[in-house]
């Protein structure tokens, strides 16, 4: 495959591209076109995007360039391209949440994070593929297309934010936003060699994020470096009066912590390794290569001066069943609005079907099998006579998990674990086994249920595929995740002599 012109721009991390834009070494139109050209050339094989907003992107880029030429004061993100998971509503730009039921819908408004990225002067390249309504761990539940992992096109890019992970890892976007309900930022980041961060619940606005599970959903950054992730997080984070669960507190200085963390001095940092997430007696289903890379990362962290100890969080074993009651329960209600009356597709409106039939047939044809499975599961868990045994019980488990975290954070500053028990698995290998698919979220679910911040940072390869290290911190201490992630990233990059993404086969091949 021959590389499009300016292809090297698409290999840069966002910080470096931003520096060149600010310095006038490259224009936003050049950078945007480089990405659009590469999407044109390669997205057929990767399948990261559901919609590429070519004309609007070039227009916006040109406007930023014109403003810069006119000497206007521009923010540090001005002119930088970005991709959004298709779960964020974008005014006038198709938004489907990966579902057939929203086919053709152009929202009349912007999500708060969409608005904030626009206000920062970024250029929206397009909307990325995802598991339908963010339900899945492989992006195979998308109603539209399969997305492939740039590290191995036969494998999944993770999910549900798999379009975003594939785009950023594959050089089709410098960075992107994902959403994380039970691991949907961290797991795809882990299996594609990216940094992904799920912010503290309530610290990034959910307004305009198509809800899967309201008490769990959080938007967050997916990037090639810890610093990029922190910068993107700062751009979207902070209080939003349109989201009443939004926390009215200033964000910690994330980018600054990422920069400082890269110095690698972890003296005094107390790090807990969670036994229940891949530790002794709890390693069933975890790949050896994954555990080996994580163990090496632990040693590395210790070597940088941190105090490492094992921590037990017994309730974590219950996270998976609790999650698969709470999330589907909320989803069954959140997805009730998709009935064909006001937006999206409408089926069987032919005068021969009554209202209930039109609604039912629209949902029958509009939703895929995994979405239906969870609606049915959630509807059941909330029904009269079962509520206490299922939804109610799951909420109690949620409280126990939160207590485990609270107890652990009395002794340590951060907790670490693998991000996901395995590396990227082959496309198609788990589609017929929902429980195997759900197991991909085993390590990410506890922080989701407790509403805590957690980062996945690459910690090497296993059989040529990326492994992620998960770093969890107390609520609102997202900065601790970034500091430690930056230290790990810097140490590994320097030991290896280059960035992990430089080993990406497609990129390595293209460069040679």
């Amino acid at each position: 495959m021959s590389r499009p012109e300016h292809a090297e721009l698409t290999d840069l991390d966002a910080a470096e591209l931003g520096r060149r834009l600010s310095a006038g070494e490259v224009s936003s139109v050049e950078a945007t076109r480089a990405y659009l050209d590469r999407i044109e050339a390669e997205d057929g094989a990767v399948g990261a995007y559901l919609h590429v907003d070519t004309d609007a992107a070039l227009e916006r880029a040109a406007a930023v360039d014109a403003a810069r030429a006119a000497g206007e004061e521009l923010g540090p993100l001005a002119g930088l391209p970005v991709a959004l998971k298709d779960v964020f509503v974008t005014e006038g730009v198709p938004t489907t949440s990966g579902s057939r039921i929203l086919e053709g819908w152009r929202p009349p408004y912007d999500a708060t994070v969409t608005r904030r990225l626009k206000d920062a002067g970024t250029v929206l390249l397009g909307k990325t593929n995802m598991d339908e309504f963010a339900m899945g761990s492989s992006t195979e539940n998308s109603a539209y297309r399969v997305t492939r992992n740039p590290w191995d096109l036969a494998r999944i890019p993770g999910g549900s934010s798999g379009g975003s992970s594939a785009a950023v890892a594959g050089g089709l976007a410098p960075w992107a936003l994902g959403t994380d309900t039970g691991g949907s930022i961290r797991q795809p980041a882990a299996v594609t060699g990216l940094v992904g961060h799920k912010p503290t619940y309530g610290s990034v606005s959910r307004y305009g994020l198509i809800a899967f599970s309201s008490s769990l959903d959080q938007a967050g950054p997916m990037a090639r470096t810890v610093l990029d992730a922190a910068v993107l997080h700062e751009a979207i984070g902070g209080h939003d009066p349109r989201d009443s669960t939004s926390i009215d507190a200033p964000l910690p200085p994330l980018a600054e912590c990422a920069r400082r963390g890269a110095a690698g001095d972890l003296t005094g940092l107390r790090v807990g390794v969670v036994r229940e997430l891949g530790g002794e007696g709890h390693a069933d289903g975890y790949e050896e290569g994954v555990l080996a890379r994580v163990a090496e990362a632990v040693q590395l962290i210790e070597g940088m001066g941190a105090e490492v100890r094992e921590v037990s969080c017994p309730s974590f074993d219950l996270a998976l069943p609790a999650y698969y009651l709470i999330a589907p329960s909320e989803a069954s209600s959140n997805l009730a609005r998709f009935e064909g009356m006001r937006f999206g597709i409408r089926v069987a409106d032919d005068g021969r079907h009554d209202l209930d039939e039109v609604m039912a047939l629209t949902r029958e044809q509009g939703f895929g099998p995994e979405v239906k499975r969870r609606i049915i599961l959630g509807t059941y868990a909330l029904s009269a006579g079962y509520y206490d045994a299922y939804y109610g019980q799951a909420q109690k488990v949620r409280t126990l998990i939160t207590r485990d975290f609270t107890a652990a954070f009395a002794d340590v500053d951060v907790l670490i674990s693998p991000t996901t028990p395995s590396v990227a698995f082959p496309i198609g290998s788990r589609v017929d086994d929902p429980l195997a698919m759900y197991a991909a979220d085993l390590c990410t679910l506890p922080a989701s249920l407790a509403g805590l911040p957690a980062t996945s940072v690459p910690c090497g390869l296993s059989d040529g595929l990326p492994v992620g290290l998960q770093i969890m911190a107390p609520a609102l201490a997202d900065d601790r995740c970034y500091s430690l992630a930056a230290a790990v990233e810097a140490a590994l990059d320097s030991a290896r002599g280059h960035r992990l993404l430089d080993e990406l086969p497609t990129r390595a091949g293209a460069a040679s």
């Binding site: 964020f88 509503v89 938004t95 949440s97 929203l102 819908w105 929202p107 009349p108 408004y109 999500a111 959910r206 307004y207 305009g208 994020l209 198509i210 809800a211 599970s213 309201s214 008490s215 009066p241 349109r242 989201d243 009443s244 669960t245 329960s329 909320e330 069954s332 209600s333 997805l335 009730a336 609005r337 998709f338 009935e339 009356m341 006001r342 937006f343 209202l355 209930d356 609604m359 509807t379 909330l382 029904s383 009269a384 509520y387 939804y391």
Partner: protein, 503 residues
């Protein structure tokens, strides 16, 4: 169908010989906030369909609710006025069901954690006081409004398509639920009406809503059940939906008592069902059976943080409550020197507020009462409208009484003046001027009219002079006729006596 709608109803008196009624009321009040419950859209009534909407109240994907603080405050004030306990921690819940007028596929309401609980309201019927226990007062959002097009009746049956107006969707709605009310016997229909009347007065006094039943800003669901007299168990209740006037509340209870008695007398079983009230016939009919099977799958609304009104805030709201209707009635009764019965009439006629405003505008309490309960009540009745909807203001009524008091017009002229006011001809003074309605003095015109009457009826004059003084009335009538009622009858009589008898 035959089991729920009998051919013949049982007379109410007879019902009471065999059965005891238990009633219950669920009242929805649309709050008069400027914006909707969970978004910033306007709540103005009567706007073009779907012009007062946004992503939130349309339930567009991604949108999120934010609770209206003013609505929460109103709800707490209503709770305080009803003597409720105000929860220190309360949550919204989702009530899940599919219908086109609920945009999100669920209604955001409150379930097991309402804002206010355990209050009461005392109402008076025929001098007797009945205590109505309030179970809860909670806050929720209104639904959109379905418009069925193509049918004859505007109902869904027979329509060829339906439209939805979401202007109403998301308007804050307070639901006030009573506990079952036993022990009202034959007075059950009146107690139901008195309760709603009193509740409406309270909400109005609080300024929480304009409580206009005809616009749907106050809506009632009326529960009725019958049990055999002396039975320890209550009967099966029916819920009559959306009863839209005070009179209808009373009629709905009465009808259900008579219907249920007929069903039970025939050995039938009352079905627990939703019924619709028909204003034209005063009867009820079974509603859609849909409701019975619905499991609403309530669960705490995760998009909204719990409401946690702190005690100090609640105390401040309690301290700021206005004088409530019951206290106000006691005060006014004393100030106006009325008997309890007279006061009850005023209240029953829904005229207390109007009389109060008329007195405030300068009329004497007696005159104000006389006009509103007499002439104006008659006219409202003739026109089939509520007293308060007549096209005359308390200020205008006060002006009218002032014109009578200073002799500018008499009672008959005042009625003609009122005709003009109601016809939109302006204030009473303007109407008197424009129509030339002022009482005539002893003018040349009146003297001429008196003399013409005497000249025109020599036989009457003869009778009077012959001692039949009563016959003078015919002459007075003739003068009044020629002057089209503008003359003062006493003056005319005196003038006639002077000329016929006294000379």
């Amino acid at each position: 169908m035959t089991t729920t709608t009998p051919d013949r109803l049982v007379d109410l008196d007879e019902v009471l010989t065999r059965y005891e009624p238990v009633i219950g009321l669920e009242t929805h009040v649309e709050l008069g906030t400027v914006s909707k419950m969970f978004c910033g859209c306007s709540t103005t009534f009567g706007a073009e369909p779907n012009t007062q909407t946004c992503p939130v109240c349309l339930g567009l994907p991604g949108s999120l609710p934010v609770a209206n603080a003013a609505a929460v405050e109103h709800t707490i004030r209503i709770g305080l006025a009803l003597g409720c306990r105000i929860a220190s921690w309360s949550r919204f819940a989702r009530k899940n069901y599919f219908y086109p007028d609920i945009p999100k596929g669920f209604q955001t309401s409150q379930y097991d954690e309402p804002l206010c609980t355990a209050g009461h309201l005392d109402v008076e019927v025929d001098g007797e006081t009945y205590r109505v226990e309030i179970e809860r007062v909670h806050l929720e959002e209104d639904t959109g409004k379905n418009l069925h097009v193509g049918g004859a009746t505007g109902r869904i049956h027979g329509a060829d398509h339906s439209l939805v107006d979401f202007n109403r969707a998301g308007i804050p709605l307070v639901e006030i639920v009573t506990r079952p009310i036993p022990g009202t016997g034959a007075k059950a229909p009146e107690v139901a009406r008195a309760y709603v009347t009193e509740l409406r007065e309270i909400v109005q006094a609080l300024g929480a809503s304009d409580v206009r039943m005809e616009q749907g800003s106050l809506r009632c669901d009326v529960n009725t059940s019958l049990a055999p007299t002396g039975s320890l168990e209550w009967g099966t209740r029916t819920e009559t939906k959306n009863v839209n006037s005070l009179r209808s509340v009373e009629r709905a209870v009465r009808y259900e008592m008579r219907r249920q008695a007929a069903v039970l007398d025939a050995g039938g079983r009352v079905l627990q069902e939703t019924r619709h009230f028909h204003e034209d016939t005063g009867s009820t009919s079974p509603g859609r059976s849909k409701e019975e099977a619905t499991d609403y799958r309530y669960f705490p609304e995760p998009d909204l943080v719990p409401l946690a009104p702190d005690a100090e805030e609640v105390e401040k709201l309690a301290a700021g409550l206005p004088e409530l209707p019951a206290a106000r009635r006691v005060r006014l009764q004393e100030e106006w020197g009325l008997s309890a019965t007279e006061m009850a009439w005023l209240v029953n006629a829904d005229a207390l507020g109007l009389v109060t405003d008329t007195v405030a505008a300068g009329a004497s309490p007696a005159e104000a009462r006389k006009w509103w309960l007499g002439e104006l009540a008659r006219r409202a009745n003739d026109a089939g409208v509520e007293l308060g909807d007549l096209a005359v203001t308390p200020r205008q009524v006060a002006e009218l009484t002032a014109l009578v008091a200073d002799g500018t017009i008499n009672d008959q002229l005042a009625r003609q003046t009122l005709d003009g006011v109601l016809a939109g001809e302006g204030d009473p003074r303007q109407v008197v001027e424009a129509r030339g309605l002022a009482v005539m003095g002893e003018s040349d015109e009146l003297v001429a009219a008196v003399e013409a009457a005497i000249a025109g009826a020599p036989d009457v004059v003869e009778k009077v002079r012959g001692g039949k003084v009563a016959a003078l009335g015919a002459l007075v009538g003739a003068v009044m006729k020629t002057t089209r009622g503008k003359a003062d009858a006493a003056t005319v009589r005196r003038m006639l006596e002077e000329r016929v008898v006294g000379s």
